[in-house]
């Protein structure tokens, strides 16, 4: 990444390198090329120097806006229920704002609590947190332990549902189906029905799953708001998979009820982008530049619309991803890969990250990106591997390009 180049390599330094004094055959010409490279580098370095320290701000200037829910981290909760409430609130905050700092605060609170004092609820929350940080094995371990030992029905339901989703995300459809069935046993309703519908849809029965879930939703009680909304979102996912226009309607209802649902917002914005409805994409992503997934989709839409703001957003994403790379942990590997593919036009690099992401997450969006990157990079073995996996589960999604 250019931004990590902080210093110029001077011509005199290059000349000192011993390996270069080897044969003189292409001599001068080579130096010409290298010198050119050196001088070009010095130009790009300027932009990556740390931004200057400013002191000319007025006393009234607003320098930073603090989040609505500023955590009070000065005092640790003194009982386990208060701790669980606080952790749950922090995770919820991270979800609705897309801000990972809240996950860091939550994890710190959990780490400070002695393991011996962990309750089932705390373990479920820790697993939820681990899943958000893509530590899937740690999440699985906590949840399976809760399932084995807990006496609380609510924690069993919670663990079962979280595990089902985890397996679904990772593409382990056999295990996902088992957990969905168990869930239907202890907590029948639209949530378990949605769980099964997702699993069926990804294993070759999207049509039937969509029709069945629609019927179940219609006959279920309207009083079950959570279940209704959950089913609505799932119907959106299935409709998109089947390339039905109703996808936008289902997701639109969910967003109307909970505008903070960034998952649904991302799905819908991407749906419109793929359909070429750039105005709809821009409207959905407006004001969400801080959220990587939405910002990348917006940057692509702006560029396709030929908007002048496209480059500014791409620049700020470039800086953000560069900082994440310096940090060493690329949490949003999918967004980074998509940025490389659609904005930077570097399909080989995009494919590398799309596949690394696909190793742990196999949602349609992940699979689609991996397929597109493999296609652009002309990587036949990667394409074959993806096609093989899709064939193994009979997974058909109208959003996938060039599926066999």
């Amino acid at each position: 990444m250019t931004c990590s180049v902080k210093k110029t390599l001077r011509r005199s330094d290059i000349r000192r390198r011993p390996a270069i004094s080897f044969p003189a055959l292409p001599g001068r010409a080579f130096w010409l090329g290298l010198t050119l490279a050196g001088s070009l580098l010095s130009a790009s370095v300027v932009t990556s120097a740390p931004s200057p320290i400013q002191n000319d701000f007025s006393d009234h200037a607003v320098l930073a806006t603090l989040p609505d829910m500023s955590p009070d981290l000065s005092s640790t909760p003194d009982n386990v229920e208060a701790l669980a409430d606080e952790v749950q609130q922090l995770i919820g905050q991270a979800r609705s704002t897309g801000d990972p700092r809240f996950l860091g605060y939550a994890e710190r609170l959990l780490q400070d609590w002695p393991e011996a004092g962990f309750t089932d609820r705390l373990r479920v929350l820790r697993a939820t947190l681990a899943q958000s940080l893509h530590r899937f094995d740690a999440a699985r371990q906590d949840l399976e332990r809760v399932l084995q030992t807990t006496q609380q029905r609510q924690q069993r339901i919670q663990s079962r549902l979280t595990l089902a989703n985890l397996e679904l995300v990772q593409g382990n459809y056999g295990k996902a189906r088992q957990h969905c069935q168990e869930l239907a046993g202890i907590y029948p309703g639209l949530i378990a029905a949605s769980c099964l519908a997702q699993t069926d849809a990804r294993t070759g029965q999207a049509d039937a799953a969509y029709a069945h879930l629609q019927a179940q939703q219609a006959s279920a009680s309207n009083a079950d708001l959570t279940g209704q909304l959950w089913a609505e979102g799932t119907l959106g996912d299935l409709a998109a998979q089947l390339d039905l226009d109703s996808a936008a309607v289902h997701w639109g209802i969910v967003l109307q009820q909970s505008p903070d649902d960034l998952y649904t917002r991302t799905q819908l914005a991407d749906w419109h982008l793929q359909a070429g409805n750039l105005q709809a994409t821009l409207a959905l992503t407006e004001g969400y530049k801080q959220v990587d997934a939405l910002a990348v989709i917006r940057a692509i839409a702006l560029r396709e619309a030929g908007a002048p703001a496209a480059e500014a957003l791409a620049d700020s994403l470039r800086e953000r991803f560069a900082e994440a790379q310096w940090r060493g942990t690329l949490l949003h590997q999918r967004d980074f890969a998509r940025f490389q593919l659609d904005i930077e036009n570097r399909p080989t690099l995009a494919l590398k990250h799309a596949l690394a992401n696909w190793e742990t997450q196999r949602e349609p969006m992940d699979t689609r990106l991996a397929l597109r990157a493999a296609h652009s990079a002309g990587d036949q073995p990667a394409l074959e591997r993806l096609h093989q996996w899709l064939a193994q589960y009979d997974q058909i999604d109208q959003r996938y390009p060039e599926a066999p």
């Binding site: 200037a61 996950l103 690099l349």
Partner: protein, 377 residues
């Protein structure tokens, strides 16, 4: 009807959680540090939002930090930062003398930025950094540090499990290491990249046909003066051309779709091979080498870009890779060309049968590549 109150709350939120991988966004908390071990300058930038966890910056509790509030708390901010950071030399802590403080901008907003002069015993450069800021509040916080010495720089990260950063060896050894690593990658890429090898082979074939002093020369496998001049021209032109585009692409000044680049590379081999028999593009090979060298440079760049993601010093990587490609090229010629020469003198079949067969094979293989690589539009 069963309706446990906390469950629906929790499930709505789980709906987001379990499926919502894109939700994780914004940016995790990072501090940025810049140390120049030559001038002993140290700068640290901490997000105002993060500092608000340590110092009550928002005096009037309106959710905003103003310039006035920042100035009011400057002493407490510096104290919090200085308490969490220790630069040391030979296990003795160095002093930090504040020189400038203000704000700076990073990708997620305003940071408090402070520049220090580092004063260690005996005027030494600091060799170690201990960083503990914000770890007690945020387990995902990291201290990112850029260490500069002379013209070299390296990056390091301090985290809750690795609070001490060694400032010494990363510099020189690290740079030399990445230079040699990329040099080796360059050699390997040239030697395993069959398309570049075939292109070179086709380019140098005419030179092996041009020897006319074979009868008088006792060492007929050695290239003649005329051959050396011709080879030098070809290799130099190829090198200059692909160095230019490799640099342009590596520095992201120019970017071409790789699938098309690969296709054109394959096509370039076909054209070069045909040109040996029917010199439609002229008998001189160096202009051909230059023209197609430009496109081969983009091919090298795509490999390089995969290797350099996360590399601190692109200049070193670029230089190493380029030198590696050249070395691979020269090694190949040093072995193959005398062999071709030997064959050319040993039997008249070389010119009449072997060269045409080889060219035909090369054209066949390259055409197949063109077919395979052409991206579907």
């Amino acid at each position: 009807m069963f309706r446990p109150i906390p469950l629906p709350l929790l499930t709505v939120f789980l709906w987001l959680l379990a499926l919502a991988n894109p939700v994780l966004a914004h940016k995790a908390s990072d501090s940025f540090m810049y140390l120049d071990t030559d001038s002993r300058q140290f700068r640290i930038d901490v997000a105002l939002r993060d500092l608000a966890l340590l110092v009550p910056l928002d005096t009037n509790r309106d959710g905003e930090v103003t310039g006035g509030e920042l100035r009011q708390h400057r002493g407490a901010i510096l104290a919090a930062i200085e308490a969490a950071i220790t630069l040391s030399a030979d296990n003795t802590a160095c002093q930090l003398r504040g020189e400038e403080s203000g704000i700076s901008q990073h990708s997620d907003g305003a940071y408090a930025a402070t520049r220090y002069q580092v004063l260690c015993d005996g005027g030494q450069a600091p060799d170690s950094l201990n960083y503990q800021l914000l770890f007690a509040q945020d387990s995902l916080h990291r201290g990112l540090i850029q260490i500069s010495a002379g013209n070299e720089s390296s990056l390091a990260v301090a985290g809750p499990d690795s609070q001490t950063v060694d400032l010494r060896p990363a510099g020189r050894a690290g740079l030399w290491h990445s230079f040699t690593t990329f040099l080796w990658e360059g050699v390997v890429h040239l030697l395993i990249g069959l398309d570049h090898i075939l292109f070179l082979l086709v380019l140098v074939l005419p030179a092996s046909l041009s020897r006319n002093d074979s009868i008088t020369s006792p060492q007929r496998w050695l290239p003649s003066r005329a051959q050396i001049i011709e080879l030098t021209g070809v290799v130099t032109a190829f090198t200059v051309a692909h160095s230019i585009t490799l640099a342009l692409a590596a520095l992201k000044i120019v970017s071409l779709p790789i699938a098309w680049v690969e296709t054109v590379i394959a096509a370039s081999i076909v054209v070069a091979a045909v040109n040996v028999v029917w010199p439609v593009l002229g008998r001189k090979t160096w202009p051909l080498a230059f023209g197609f060298g430009l496109i081969h440079g983009f091919g090298f760049a795509s490999v390089l870009s995969d290797l350099t993601s996360g590399t601190a010093n692109l200049a070193v990587a670029l230089a190493g890779f380029n030198v590696g490609v050249e070395l691979g090229q020269l090694a190949l010629l040093a072995i193959c060309f005398p062999l071709l020469n030997l064959l050319a003198q040993a039997t008249p079949l070389y010119q009449r049968a072997l060269v045409p067969v080889v060219l035909l094979g090369v054209v066949g293989v390259s055409l197949m590549w063109v077919w395979e690589r052409t991206p579907a539009v």
